[in-house]
């Protein structure tokens, strides 16, 4: 009997270190849950345990990342350790840690059951991590569902607020519907290729017996993932859900799950449906999804930006802006799809990851301030509520301005390097479609200047007529602001280290 176990452990396909970050975080989540049931209502303790878990997980991640000679895949190729997984996982861990810190304000103000909230957040993060590390449609789906179920509940945490209920309900129903599409797509792809392993799908696509099935399957996957990353026309849920959810959760949803969606989306399409020259089915499939995603990217940027202009609510503005940012990230995504060399493709993948990192840092910084300014029940989230606060609370106002400029993509901020990186691969391809895509993206950036500047305008250029007492900046929030501000400048000026780190372990799939 013992021998069987030993044989199993000796199996090279099982690699505990490779899933150590996920395991540590899942265990932390369970611990928090148990602690909450034994001694309920101790926010600081559950928060600290969660932070510790996130840090441990990050340490494990960097250990895998920086140990040379690591095994690149395990569990029968279901879990992989490449730069795509590592860089996105780093983004998720950062997002979660910042979200916990941002939430302290709101958790105390609204007297939320913090233990549950922290558990959900940790499980959501575990789900996101599996979405990035899974090289198998099944793992990706499991990760996605773990993430989704946790976020449905988080969106509805403000139980007594009607908007929050609406947010959760809407997210749940539409999200389940999208998951259905995703699962159906996966089934069709499996039917066509006979495998759920993404590397294998790419190989089998050449000999796919039912190319049409594969195409329909891929289309379903586009819908499913398109919903998760909120691309037009699958974005309709976003503004309502983002507006209704508690501010820190909105920040989390705009940064984390969106990045996770991109991680799987990238892996399935760029690595699973690559261009194999000479194979008609593959060429047609590749051509179709590139065109589809290009059109979606253009729509996503344009609709997101134009809708953001007319918003009067800051949270809704940021929701539409997050849609626009998904569009910019898709420019890099398409660039990865059309890359002619493996290096170009990996650089483009790293670029999307870096973009999500810069977006996450900037956006969470912005949401930290939105949370603080919103006061009880998230009441003060209109543009008017920011009138003239510029010199009343200069720290908050200048930080928020910095985040807006970074979202706009102004040089010296993280957003600029992120934009340059995602536009590059598309321009490298050099086809006129790609050039048009990038030109539309920069025109959109100019449009977006209007609403990002609007927040600066109301804060600094308008006078405040009503009373304004500066909200107290707690230690946790000060830490968030410090981290995000340093992050915005660090990624914007010294981004090089991070970019190199992000492309350290190239994806283990050759171009054909």
């Amino acid at each position: 009997m013992m021998n069987i176990f030993l044989a199993e452990l000796a199996d090279p396909n099982v690699s505990i270190p490779l899933v150590l970050p996920e395991m540590l975080l899942a265990v932390t989540g369970i611990l928090v849950m148990i602690y909450e049931s034994v001694r309920p209502g101790r926010r600081r303790v559950t928060g600290t345990i969660s932070m510790a878990g996130l840090i441990l997980s990050a340490v494990a991640l960097f250990w895998i990342w920086s140990t040379p000679g690591q095994q690149l895949s395990a569990f029968g190729g279901m879990i992989v350790a490449d730069s795509l997984r590592m860089s996105f996982t780093a983004v998720f861990l950062l997002v979660s840690a910042l979200t916990i810190l941002v939430s302290t304000v709101w958790v105390e103000r609204e007297d939320v059951h913090a233990g549950e909230y922290h558990t959900l957040l940790l499980f959501a993060t575990v789900g996101m991590m599996f979405m990035a590390s899974g090289n198998d449609l099944v793992i990706i789906f499991l990760g996605l569902e773990t993430l989704s179920i946790a976020t449905y509940v988080m969106a509805g945490l403000r139980r007594r607020d009607l908007r929050s209920n609406e947010s959760a309900m809407k997210y749940f129903i539409l999200g389940s519907y999208a998951s259905g599409f995703l699962l159906y797509g996966m089934a069709l792809v499996y039917g066509a290729t006979g495998t759920t392993n993404i590397t294998q799908i790419a190989l089998n696509a050449e000999t796919a017996q039912f190319p049409a099935l594969l195409l329909v399957g891929a289309a379903m996957l586009v819908i499913g993932f398109g919903f998760k990353v909120a691309t037009v026309p699958f974005h309709i849920w976003t503004p309502d859900v983002y507006e209704g959810a508690p501010s820190p959760v909105t920040g989390f949803m705009a940064a984390g799950p969106k990045a996770a969606g991109f991680a799987s989306f990238l892996r399935v399409f760029v690595l699973g449906f690559p261009l194999v020259v000479g194979v008609q089915a593959s060429e047609f499939l590749h051509d179709s999804w590139i065109t589809a995603l290009t059109v979606m990217a253009i729509l996503t940027m344009t609709v997101g930006n134009i809708a953001a202009i007319v918003q009067n609510n800051v949270k809704r503005m940021l929701a539409y802006s997050s849609i626009a940012h998904a569009g910019y990230a898709m420019v890099g995504f398409v660039g990865a799809g059309v890359a002619k060399t493996a290096t170009g493709r990996d650089d483009a993948i790293a670029a999307v990851a870096f973009y999500m990192l810069t977006y996450a840092v900037t956006n969470l910084g912005a949401f930290a301030i939105v949370t603080l300014v919103a006061r009880k029940n998230d009441r003060r989230t209109e543009f008017e509520d920011y009138n003239g606060i510029g010199f009343r609370s200069p720290v908050l106002a200048f930080s928020l301005s910095l985040f807006m400029l970074s979202l706009l993509g102004l040089p010296l901020t993280a957003g600029f390097i992120g934009k340059v990186l995602v536009f590059r691969p598309a321009l490298e391809a050099g086809t006129s479609l790609m050039v048009i895509l990038v030109v539309i993206a920069v025109i959109n950036t100019a449009i977006s200047a209007y609403y990002y500047l609007r927040l600066i305008v109301v804060m600094f250029f308008r006078e405040r007529t009503e009373e304004w007492s500066e909200p107290r900046i707690s230690t946790a929030l000060a830490a968030v602001l410090a981290i995000t501000i340093i992050g915005v400048f660090y990624f914007g000026i010294f981004g090089n280290n991070v970019i190199e780190m992000f492309s350290k372990y190239p994806v283990d799939v050759q171009m054909r």
């Binding site: 536009f423 950036t445 209007y450 090089n496 970019i499």
Partner: protein
């Protein structure tokens, strides 16, 4: 001293920003707003003095740039922190460091609201502007080009006039749209260089080398690409200049900005556009430049005449000066696109002269605005009776702007017209026709400025509110003195500037005109005051 010489440009860029941090720190710890302007003035003066070291000049390296510094910035993107000056950028850097202290003194009593933020933004702006003129890496150039927008946006938005929000947002979005398309062109250049030579680069000197050696060419089959890239760069710069029809942001921004903001905007920010065209468009895309020249010449002439005509009917003095900028910058563009040495030297000279003169005009408008809080011409009349010194200074400055001989405006405009006359860029006698059309602009300039002077300064003192106006204070005379000095000095002795800019301008002229000398004027040997 070696250290300073080696890193002089970086020091010039950093000092204002460090100064900004210092005044913020000062305010946080001492909470005394009265020191701020002194500290800011000290920082800008220090920067001016240090910038004079550029004149002493180290030897230029083989590529024509001195005080070079080149170190990797983001290798993963392929961008280096590469800076340096040549005869073209040197004078624009000096103009920047010269105007800044003057702009700071002009705010002495004018800025009562939020002085800390005001001075901090001024200093950051100076850093960005110097950075624009010295960057030799396209991405770094773009970085500074965009970075200069933000402080100006705040300066207009917080300390501006009634329509300030509209003006600030318009200014920002106009300029941002143009420069973003330039960013696309910059990244595209990187990949074109990658395809052509095997290494991608943003480095201006490397790109230039590849273009002149022919390994990266925009002729023949890729002419279309070259034209598109040229247009992307040109759009960014044309908006900044601003060239007609992209000028509509300028009157609003100028009129609404606080005096110091208008001065910086007119004297320095506009020059970024013309500098960019000369530095990047001409040398990177010479074929496209020649091909497109006629469009720019026509737009420049429209700008000259339109700017002058619109200036003529302005009821607001500041708006009048703003429109006169459109006309003057039209001259600069015209001179550049003549592709002759005279024209391009004249363009550079006019850039500097316009910086001094129009800066001075905005200051003068600011002086009277501080006293009366109106800029309507109809509110004034007969001011020379109560403010004789002010009237004298104003008339001299206006004359310099009109282009009276022995004042600085004349030299540049004369060279530009000479260059355009002898140019061969347009077919047949169109070059001469273009020159004559532009020449009418000089006449119009005399009309709108003299008419304005007549209505404001001469005649009877009719408005009671003007009876008790005080003449210029010592501080105000002190601000104007160096400007007046340079108006006269640059007018009678242009040789030092023209001589030092000549090698660089001639080199750009050689590249853009495809290796041939442009006009026939070189035989007349008119390149300095002796020639006249």
């Amino acid at each position: 001293m070696d250290f300073i010489n080696q890193y002089l440009l970086t020091i010039l860029i950093l000092i204002p920003t460090i100064g900004a941090v210092a005044i913020i720190a000062h305010q946080v710890f001492w909470k005394d707003e009265s020191h701020l302007k002194w500290l800011t003035l000290g920082v800008t003066l220090l920067n001016f003095v240090l910038s004079l070291l550029l004149l002493g000049g180290a030897q230029a390296s083989a590529n024509g740039f001195s005080f070079e510094q080149n170190s990797p910035w983001i290798p993963a993107i392929g961008s280096n922190y590469h800076i340096g000056v040549d005869g073209l950028s040197l004078w624009l850097v000096l103009l920047t460091t010269f105007i800044m202290p003057i702009a700071v003194i002009s705010t002495w009593h004018a800025i009562e609201k939020r002085p800390l933020a005001f001075y901090a933004f001024m200093l950051v702006l100076e850093s960005a502007m110097i950075g624009v003129f010295v960057s030799l890496d396209l991405l770094v150039f773009y970085l500074f080009f965009e970075a200069s927008l933000v402080p100006m946006f705040f300066l207009i938005g917080i300390w501006g006039g009634k329509q300030r929000i509209y003006a600030a947002v318009k200014f920002f979005i106009y300029t941002a749209l143009g420069s973003l398309l330039m960013l696309v062109a910059i990244i595209a250049l990187y990949y074109l260089h990658l395809q052509a030579t095997g290494t991608g680069t943003f480095d201006y000197v490397t790109l230039l080398g590849s273009i002149s050696s022919g390994s990266l060419a925009f002729g023949g089959a890729s002419a279309y690409t070259g034209t598109l890239l040229f247009l992307a760069f040109a759009l960014a710069f044309s908006i900044k200049v601003p060239l007609f029809p992209f000028h509509t942001w300028l009157p609003d921004a100028h009129t609404e900005a606080p005096t110091a903001g208008s001065v910086i905007l007119a004297a320095i920010l506009l020059k970024m556009g013309t500098y960019g065209i000369m530095r990047f468009n001409f040398t990177l895309f010479p074929e496209a430049s020649r091909e497109m020249a006629w469009i720019f010449i026509i737009l420049a002439i429209i700008g000259i005449i339109y700017g002058a005509l619109v200036a003529m009917v302005q009821p607001d003095v500041k708006r009048l000066v703003a429109y006169s900028s459109v006309a003057h910058m039209g001259f600069v563009v015209l001179g550049m696109f003549s592709f002759t040495e005279q024209g391009m030297q004249g363009a550079l000279y006019t850039m500097l002269a316009h910086g001094v003169t129009t800066g001075a005009l905005f200051l003068l408008v600011g002086f009277i605005y501080e006293r009366r809080h109106t800029r309507e011409i109809s509110e004034y009349g007969g001011l020379s009776n109560v403010m004789p010194i002010y009237a004298t200074v104003f008339v001299i400055t206006a004359m310099a702007s009109v282009g009276l001989p022995f004042l600085n405006g004349f030299v540049g405009e004369f060279l530009i017209m000479l260059g355009m006359w002898s140019s061969t860029i347009l077919p047949g006698s169109w070059n001469q026709i273009a020159t004559m059309a532009a020449g009418t602009g000089v006449i119009f300039a005399a009309v709108y400025l003299l008419w304005m002077i007549q209505r404001v300064f001469f005649g009877k003192l009719t408005n009671e509110k003007n009876m008790s106006l005080s003449d210029l204070s010592l501080r105000e005379i002190g601000i104007m003195a160096p400007l007046l000095f340079f108006m006269v000095f640059m007018g009678v002795y242009p040789k030092p500037i023209l001589d030092s800019s000549k090698p660089s301008v001639v080199e750009i002229q050689r590249i853009v005109s495809g290796g041939t000398k442009g006009g026939t004027v070189t035989e007349l040997n008119i390149d300095g005051p002796e020639g006249r």
